[in-house]
Symmetry: C2
Subunit: 451 residues, 2 copies
């Protein structure tokens, strides 16, 4: 049996211990666990090449696994086989301060990386919320609150090493800040969720830690006013580093659980990065004026990191408080994005679609990215079924609005069924053709993206 | 013969007139002209589908042609066949001001588009210098002076319609500002130079015309000081909208031809966009301080559009003055990019490599993109040969530095030979596999990108 052969060949780099198999049979999502037959702990790039060659020779499913923080079942080995863990490939290989660039192994964790980069005055900007691995962020094109200014993961990679399904190691991209050279295979692989191969290392684009930052929160009578303000701020050229929306239900929950005494109204929370305080104070003035034009009823702002942390504390607590308030329950995290002009509509639609379930609506408004955390007892199939219906309604509506079925979590297991409605059958057929050309025996993370 | 059959089928949409064939046998580059057998003037998307289907059925080479402003031979039909002109597909279909987005046909010209967008307070930021077509910009991933802030063409497209080599029409991307849904086939097609199919329309991402702008020029004793300043400014988080380098030889030429009385020293020219004058004045203060730290010997700056135009006038004249100073000669335009830290080295290397030819060095320094216009009599093979040697030396060195053989002009004809040294053979083989899967009979712009 191949599992025993693998153990003989790769020895202590493999494990078939039950607790290990369990650990690598799930991510942070609600999706059904599925065990691999063996977990391979890669220590370096050559290990990845070797194990992929082995899988290829024997037509065994093989799935990469970073930090397991994804929430769409992206690394769950639904067809069993080999899971390749990158947890031991966690070296920050070299920092290039003058180029604002870092070379890392795929298993480096996002937060560890930024801790290390702090002393260079630099940071890797796409923040996925969770402490994801860089390889996982590449695989899923992760993004988060700061994407509105700094882009998603795909916008912050110069070059990467990548192992194709037959074990061939290739280089994607180059170290120049721009290029028109050849097919953009780097961006084909970013976001391909391990279905075309595995990232082993990357040169990431960094941003300078801003000399100063500021924050502001503005409350509005209704969702429409709040969200119109977002598009006005984006259009003004003010370039917020983050601009988030929170529905009044989220604030009610925060007040109830933590006695925060916040305004129970829809709000937007912003962050600005700048070179000096005068610039930031000028920006706040412009923001106030735009918010006032849109019927703002309450405003708070401040310059400096302490003020920024004070204003953002409610937003940062949100997910943790939702979990704390709903112990023992599971969550479906809705993730969809629409053109900015449709953001008020999708938020209103989501409020209506979730009115019979426990749901909290917020999102990265500056990107048109809506999230809703829907909570229920997963063993209660009628309750859980309502969550699934609500999720499906919101995602379908986002696609109808010309948007996307997933703004930042990836297709994984839960979003496959929307792919054709989003892109059309011809376009999905092109994706399938590419998949088949590159992974003809369908060993790389099978059962994902495509139905 | 198929040409006659095409004329029968497509009637007045085709032309085989000699002057038409001549017109579509070249672009703005020095590359050898090559005539198509027929030119097809598409009037709408269905026309493109029909003509591609015809070419596919009959295995006839087919090459898209926008404004012909490319400078690497990208649309020259080197294998003859059909050229599809997009000049009649020049409709701006719809502007979406609230989404800062526009939907255009592929034949719309860059400058026409921005003229129309002005009244919405919006602009399409990637400026290729020439009055390129949007389809051509998509095909070649064009960029220019403002890419340092706003990105290249690839960073400013939400969605596009694209005709595959068998005539299948597909949709690429979606209208959300970010997405993690499926393979990024949009970015695979952008920059594929018409070798995987043809763009028919696109939804482009727009930027707000800034309320205020400023400019500054700083002169330095040597190239090293000038270029180090560039990376310090980028690292500072000041976010210039443009930051260009000009070598002293360019300035000598400008002084000589137009009596400009400029400092004959290496310089950097910058532009900043902002919400108000106070912010811009603060930025200029920060810029002065960084320039001073790097040994600046002279500085000029101003806030407002008139000041901006005054300071940039020398840079804007550069190419025109080079042509005027060298009437009757042809030019090779060197285009390569390196990591910022290598920019001083590549500029010094280029100065040395061009010391025996007439050459002018400048570039989009903020992106590490170096240009040199090398001028000679093309009929004098020994003179012209020297240009080719100098070009090759600079491009090879840029690739050695971890950079790219083309920052913004595309591979076209002249850069094919560097592809393997840039990406490695395995990576180029992946590109070829993709080409073969999608265009198995190799009809789309054959003879380009790959040797």
């Amino acid at each position: 049996m191949w599992v025993n052969e693998m153990k003989e060949i790769f020895k202590s780099k493999c494990s078939t211990g039950e607790s290990i198999l369990d650990q690598f049979s799930h991510d942070e999502s609600h999706h059904k666990w599925s065990k691999p037959q063996i977990v391979f702990f890669a220590e370096n790039e050559q290990d990845v090449v070797d194990v992929v060659k082995y899988a290829h020779k024997n037509s065994i499913p093989i799935t990469g696994y970073g930090a397991g923080s994804s929430i769409e079942g992206n690394p769950i080995p639904v067809k069993g086989g080999i899971v390749v863990s990158f947890q031991n490939m966690n070296k920050i290989i070299e920092v290039f301060p003058q180029d604002m660039m870092v070379r890392v192994e795929a298993g480096v964790l996002y937060k560890d990386l930024n801790n290390e980069l702090r002393r260079y005055g630099l940071f890797f900007a796409p923040d996925p919320g969770a402490n994801a691995s860089i390889g996982g962020m590449l695989a899923n094109n992760a993004s988060g609150t700061r994407t509105v200014k700094y882009g998603a993961t795909k916008d912050n990679v110069y070059k990467a090493n990548f192992v194709l399904p037959d074990g061939t190691l290739i280089k994607l991209g180059n170290l120049a800040r721009k290029s028109s050279s050849g097919f953009d295979t780097l961006h084909l692989m970013i976001g391909s969720e391990g279905t075309l191969g595995l990232f082993t290392e990357a040169y990431l684009k960094l941003a300078g830690i801003p000399a100063e930052m500021s924050a502001a929160v503005a409350y509005f009578e209704n969702v429409n006013d709040a969200v119109n303000t977002v598009s006005n701020i984006i259009m003004s050229g003010l370039s917020p580093a983050a601009i988030e929306f929170m529905d009044e239900n989220v604030i009610k929950m925060l007040n109830l659980s933590d006695n925060l005494n916040l305004n129970e109204k829809p709000c937007i929370i912003m962050e600005f990065h700048g070179d000096n305080k005068i610039i930031l104070e000028e920006q706040i003035k412009s923001v106030v004026s735009i918010c006032r034009d849109n019927g703002m009823i309450n405003f708070d702002s401040g310059v400096g990191i302490d003020e920024r942390n004070r204003i953002w504390s409610a937003r940062h607590k949100t997910y943790e408080v939702i979990l704390r308030t709903n112990i023992g329950k599971k969550a479906i995290i809705v993730d969809a994005a629409v053109p900015i002009s449709k953001y008020p509509d999708i938020v209103m639609f989501a409020k209506d679609a979730t009115k019979d379930v426990t749901g909290y609506i917020f999102g990265h408004a500056g990107d048109g990215n809506i999230h809703a955390v829907l909570v229920a007892d997963k063993d209660n199939s009628s309750e859980w079924g309502k969550l699934e219906v609500a999720n499906e309604k919101i995602v379908k509506k986002a696609v109808e609005f010309g948007g996307t079925a997933t703004g930042e979590h990836g297709v994984g297991i839960g979003k496959s069924k929307y792919l054709v409605s989003e892109y059309g059958e011809n376009s999905v057929n092109l994706m399938k053709l590419i998949k088949k050309s590159i992974d003809s025996s369908n060993i790389m993370n099978p059962g994902k993206i495509f139905i």
